[in-house]
């Protein structure tokens, strides 16, 4: 961590993080919170695998199992994968485009706290009468019938954290459009920036349908509305549509930034510019666009009719084309390169075959009549863990190693990193490869147990062993982080030696104002260009040193989010006749939120300036 943080007392550091609007610190917050939820989701995954290790197991009960799978899916997707990606976006994207800051530092922090409080709220359901138990998809007839408050926790918690995600998305969009350094044209943006941009656009359009769907769910469950109650004219299929109109783009929200990270990693460690850069950009946009046209492939067996099924089947298959373009471009990037197999690169090399295997099973599922067999079977579980774990989680682990020196000015241990990879990678294939066959052999998903006479015992057992190997991998990664934090040495600038993009050109530890002078971008892979031309500083500057405008820290984002968190409890328990305290709590929570918002809008917050003279004296940057 930065040297200034070390000098501060513990309390001051905490306060600093609670009020920070610095994207680099928010990145750290996202990283910590995301890791916490990833471990929780991972433990839930282990419970699933232990329960299914043998037939007729009673390690967990039927009802509890449903809560576990629901929370596993929900936690992993909303609270682990997305925030971890946000961590790396916050850490790298503003630096990649040569920006001093994000467009809306205050909102950036608000987005984080909303996500965190939403996630906490959702997870508190475990201790407050039961977690949601209708699957992460929460299909309406079952979720309306669910007797505990679990689904209410789900709906309210996702609503809060979803608002945070939406805000984060808008922030990235504006940052990338408006804050690029001079010369950083769209077609010179690093791929991770591009994929962040497209993923943010997907967030913008995909989250409102989820928001509306969750409101319908809340209204139906808490206020006797009838959106999904077929006896009063409602229709459960509306929920399915809304969920998947959100849900399908969501998977691309996750995987596109992962693609972006690997694009950076392949180029860096092959010492070669990304092959087919413009077609990579095009493919990214095309995937984003097609992502909105295919949601009903999750609903082939709902009975939408052959015409709808046929259209959505063909549209879904089309996504294989731009994704294929990407895969081949990656291969051609490393082809003819000078490959250094560092830990991030090792993850990259593991990613290609794994993701392709997951992608092609997706295309099989896209064939509607075949999906009648595959749907809701373990084949699906295998497919999506191949793309998610083989795509996103590998990307996250790769990025953790790759960007660790950027975020903390330390290198994770490479040897341990490679051992981690081996355990995780072997475990991953061992867990999920075999699940394809379980599915084909007739095993439905979301079953808490199975009878012993169906030929599924051995494969399930193997799958569980794999999960344990993965767990060892994850624990090793945590160990690596701890060891590094204790005795790591400063990594310095451009620690991988082969950095190509602007984030590696900045001195370490990164000054809190980022670039002392805004860089001038002279082409794609601008740092590489400067290095090749023998520029020791790694940057050409677009302006002389002058005053830098900075935003003030603020505790208001925390308070706004905390207010909603409190209000959510009030709203949730308001349904129970015996909880008279709920209404005051609801009002108090909303009051906290609104008051904080009013303070924010009435008090002028103009930030402050770092003066030229101070900048001259600081070390780092131009000396």
């Amino acid at each position: 961590m930065s040297s200034t943080a070390k000098k501060k007392g513990f309390g001051a550091t905490i306060w600093d993080y609670l009020t920070t609007v610095d994207h680099k610190k928010i990145a750290v917050l996202y990283l910590i919170a995301g890791t916490l939820f990833f471990v929780i989701g991972g433990i839930e995954a282990m419970l699933i695998r232990i329960q299914l290790a043998e037939p007729n197991n009673d390690f967990v009960s039927a009802g509890l199992f449903n809560e576990i799978i629901t929370m596993h899916g929900t936690t992993m997707i909303f609270l682990a994968a997305m925030p971890l990606l946000f961590a790396f976006m916050n850490a790298a994207v503003p630096l990649q485009i040569g920006a001093r800051d994000v467009a809306f530092p205050f909102l950036n922090s608000l987005g984080f706290w909303l996500f965190l409080f939403g996630g906490l709220f959702l997870n508190l359901s475990w201790f407050l009468g039961g977690a949601p138990d209708a699957g992460w998809t929460s299909y309406a007839s079952l979720s309306l019938a669910s007797p505990t408050h679990g689904i209410d926790f789900y709906a309210l918690g996702l609503q809060i954290s979803g608002a945070g995600t939406l805000i984060a998305g808008i922030n990235f969009l504006v940052t990338i459009i408006n804050m690029r350094a001079p010369g950083m044209t769209y077609m010179r943006m690093p791929l991770f920036t591009w994929t962040t941009f497209v993923a943010s656009a997907l967030i913008l359009f995909a989250f409102p349908p989820l928001t509306v769907g969750l409101f319908f769910m809340i209204f139906d469950r808490m206020f006797d509305a009838n959106f999904f109650d077929h006896l009063n004219g409602g229709n459960t299929i509306i929920w399915e549509h809304l969920f998947w109109i959100f849900g399908h783009p969501e998977v691309y929200i996750l995987v596109l930034p992962a693609f972006g990270l690997f694009s950076e990693i392949f180029a860096t460690f092959s010492r070669k510019r990304l092959f087919g850069y413009s077609s990579m950009v095009f493919a990214t946009i095309l995937i984003g666009f097609l992502g909105f046209m295919v949601w009903a492939h999750h609903m082939f067996t709902v009975g939408l009719g052959p015409t709808a099924n046929a259209i959505f089947a063909v549209a879904t298959m089309a996504i294989a084309v731009p994704t294929g373009m990407k895969v081949f471009n990656w291969l051609l990037t490393i082809w003819g390169g000078n490959i250094k197999v560092t830990t991030p690169m090792l993850y990259g090399l593991g990613f290609i075959p794994s993701f392709v295997a997951g992608g092609v099973t997706g295309v099989m599922q896209a064939s509607a009549p075949l999906d009648y067999q595959l749907h809701d079977s373990y084949f699906i579980v295998a497919h999506f863990h191949y793309v998610i774990v083989g795509g996103i989680v590998l990307a996250l682990f790769a990025a953790a190693h790759y960007y660790w020196p950027l975020m903390f000015n330390q290198m994770l241990n490479e040897t341990l990193g490679k051992i981690t990879f081996v355990f995780f990678f072997v475990g991953f294939h061992c867990t999920f490869f075999i699940q394809h066959f379980l599915g084909l052999m007739g095993m439905p998903r979301r079953v808490f147990t199975y009878q012993g006479d169906q030929g599924w015992d051995l494969f399930n057992y193997i799958s569980t062993i794999g999960a344990f190997l993965m767990a060892i991998g994850v624990i090793l990664l945590v160990v690596n982080v701890i060891i590094t934090a204790i005795k790591g040495e400063p990594a310095g600038r451009d620690p991988w030696k082969d950095g190509r993009t602007l984030e590696w050109a900045i001195p370490q530890p990164v000054p809190y104002y980022n670039f002392k002078q805004t860089p001038l971008v002279r082409g794609l892979d601008t740092f590489w260009i400067e290095k090749m031309e023998g520029n020791k500083e790694g940057m050409t500057y677009a302006e002389p040193i002058s005053d830098i405008h900075m935003p003030n820290n603020s505790f208001i984002p925390f308070m706004i989010s905390f207010g909603l968190f409190v209000a959510a409890f009030g709203a949730l328990y308001h349904q129970d006749a015996d909880k008279a305290w709920s209404l005051p709590v609801l009002i108090a929570g909303l009051a906290i939120t609104f008051l904080s918002m009013i303070v924010r809008s009435l008090k002028d917050d103009l930030g402050y300036h770092i003066h030229k003279e101070e900048l001259m004296n600081e070390k780092g940057g131009k000396k």
Binding site: P208, N232, N235
Partner: protein
Amino acid sequence: MDLKTKFTPQSWPAHPENATLEGKNKTLGFWIFLGGETVLFATLFATFLALKNKGPNGMEFSTQSLFELPLAFIMTMLLLTSSLTSVYAMYHMKNHNFKAMQAWIAVTVVLGLGFLGLEIYEFYHYVHLGFTFTQSAFGSSFYTLVGTHGLHVIIGLAWFILLMLRNSKRGLNLYNAPKYYLASLYWHFIDVVWVFIFTVVYLMGVLD
């Protein structure tokens, strides 16, 4: 940026909302946000279209039996006019005529309040007839769609009022100009949504 600079109409930039980086970011961010809002309303419209006139067996309520066009017409006129008055306000903002701007915003607010009053009256009337939020899927989707729009009207009004009060003593500067501009964009967006509501909900509801 500082709040002390005093502007004359002549030194006042032609596009005050975009004159600062903060202003640029805000305007763009707000447009993007409106893109999200568009999808949000589309979802509500889609649901309304799927659920309209659907209810328990033998439900007596339908779009035809409920809606009255004269009321919807008056509401539409109020909101449309308020859209124009907020354009006037922005016109005066660009001319750095603070008083005139505040005045036109006040007119906008009055018109908006009129709209809101009529909408409340309308809901009150339906509830009296027994057509409530919980009565049917039709009721749920109708009140959610039109009510969400109403909520936007309330937020828009609150925004305008807050801006007027907060800045009444300070006059225009480059810090609050983008805020006025965004509030007026928001108000136009509310009108855009209403155009579809009166067309799709009321007019087409009465049609078939």
